[in-house]
Amino acid sequence: MILKLSNINKSFGSTIVLEDINITSEKKECLAIIGPNGAGKSTLFKVISGIIKQDNGYVEFNSKSVNALNVEERARLGISQSFQKNSLFLEMTVKESLMIACSHKYKVSFNFIKPLYKNNFISEDAIKIAKDIGLQNYLDIKSEFLSYGLQRQLELGIAIACNPRLLLLDEPTAGMSPAETKDIINLIKKLSKEYSIIIVEHDMEVIYNLADKIYVLDRGKLIFEGSPNAVKNSELVQKVYLGI
């Protein structure tokens, strides 16, 4: 078991956002959390990554409690995330962004003598990751000049460059054209062979192709869990999504 959430509750003021959430995720499993807008998906995502603290309940990672750890510390344990809105190092090139993420993987981030760009193994690794995410032709372009779709790919690349044991993806296809969405889905499919992944998404079509297991969230509660097929055929889920 790589991640276990037990009895997570979270409310903002009098609004209950998450209510008694229990989720477990196995190694190398691709798990999806879906739900309509406002279901509490992003809050749940932030609870896992440590950006938001839950009111009560436990988050366990690799059978150890990470309740007391902040984002940075959880990232060092191997919980890596990509953001819903592109969050990049805009003044840096693609290669440099990836190398900076890699510098943590190789634990050289405190080195203050040897230039980063002269670290050959990091640079090779960054190029390899750029190939994986399909950005090998854009290595020396500054992130701010990339198109939205390419930025989205880089967003994923930075997340995998930290050598994650668990990859959290918050709506990886948000705002993308159908063609770009297809690329990203193929990319995530490839990644799911290597990494444990949790995807938060509101577009069900994206998920059906990817997930091993799906949790459906509605108004802060888990209302259904099961395989993609089970979710597809569930009347309850259709009711929530279509509002029938």
Binding site: E72, S87, L90, I100, A101, S109, F110, K114, Y117
Partner: protein, 318 residues
């Protein structure tokens, strides 16, 4: 800040030209030129230290003159009151500056923008007020009669203006090499990443507070070196050196030179100091001119003289 520069290649080229120029002027100049070059070099060291934390760390400090003061006063007190040779006092004062900054930095480096500015301003003013009343530090009179280091065992006589300005240039080169190393190394690039996107830096597991505290400390150590060289040059120190306007002038220098470029800081320090000096000889409303020039730079040339050089070079090569 969009105006932060990063260009290691051009940085070295500009640095080499500046050092060559200073050497030439130093050799062929008279007594006054040599003194003036030493002054500019010391200001440049201070500007580099400020440039490093303001650009890479995103920490704009209005209290950096405090570290200039710590370096200067530590050298003065250690050498006059405790009889420690000035050369060693200099090293001690750098270490003192480093440690004080490490302790202060631990508490303040994570503050954002305006809060960091205000806290450093407050700390700087507190230090200034303390220096002004402290008996040990000579109060408003300051300390006089500080000797230059005795390097006669290396056959170097620092009391000669020519030698002394070479000595300051030597330190400038060392500081430049150190800061460029740190800037290009993973530590410096990670600092840059934090400035550009702090949330993302957390998400990749950066040790934000530690990097920033280290950067703050390195910068303070260099400012202390500048302070120490300042007393060696002048032989006296007064509390005015620790006033916040000195930090403000430092910021003007790095903005004119081009933030983040390191050699641009030297360029900025030289240009501002030369203009200050020349203008104040001719007119007594020279501050107005400098202020106006500064506003023009901020409005139309945020990457400073450095940006100008970059653009000219691009045009020439294309």
């Amino acid at each position: 800040m969009r105006a932060v520069n990063y260009n290691p290649k051009l940085r070295l080229q500009v640095m080499v030209i500046l050092v060559l120029l200073s050497i030439i002027f130093n050799i062929f100049g008279g007594y006054f030129t040599r003194f003036f070059i030493a002054e500019i070099t010391i200001l440049s060291i201070f500007a580099i230290s400020l440039d490093f934390i303001a650009s890479r760390g995103g920490m704009v400090s209005l209290g950096h003159a405090m570290f200039l003061g710590i370096g200067a006063y530590a050298t003065a007190v250690l050498s006059t009151n405790y009889g420690i040779p000035p050369f060693y006092s200099m090293f001690f004062s750098i270490i003192i500056g480093l440690f004080i900054a490490l302790i202060i930095g631990y508490f303040i480096v994570l503050l954002d923008g305006i809060f960091f500015i205000m806290v450093t301003l407050a700390l700087g003013e507190m230090f200034h007020a303390w220096v002004f009343t402290s008996e040990l530090l000579g109060g408003s009179d300051g300390i006089t009669g500080i000797l230059r280091p005795d390097l006669s065992s290396f056959y170097i006589d620092l009391n000669q203006p020519l030698i002394f300005s070479f000595y300051t240039i030597f330190w400038l080169v060392i500081v430049y090499l150190l800061i460029s190393k740190v800037t290009d190394a993973p530590l410096g690039r990670n600092l840059d990443a934090i400035r550009q996107n702090s949330d993302r830096a957390s998400a990749i597991g950066a040790y934000k507070k530690t990097y920033k505290a280290i950067a703050f400390s390195i910068s303070a150590g260099i400012a202390s070196l500048a302070g120490s060289l300042y007393v060696q040059l002048n032989g006296f120190i007064s509390p005015e050196l620790t006033h916040w306007t000195v930090s403000g002038e430092g910021l003007i220098m790095i903005i004119v030179g081009g933030i983040g470029s390191i050699s641009g800081a030297i360029l900025g320090a030289s240009v501002v100091h030369i203009i200050q000096h020349e203008l104040s000889n001719i007119i007594n409303w020279w501050m107005l001119v400098i202020g106006f020039g500064f506003i023009l730079v901020v409005l139309f040339m945020q990457d400073g003289l450095w940006g100008l050089i970059e653009r000219i070079k691009k045009k020439c090569s294309s």
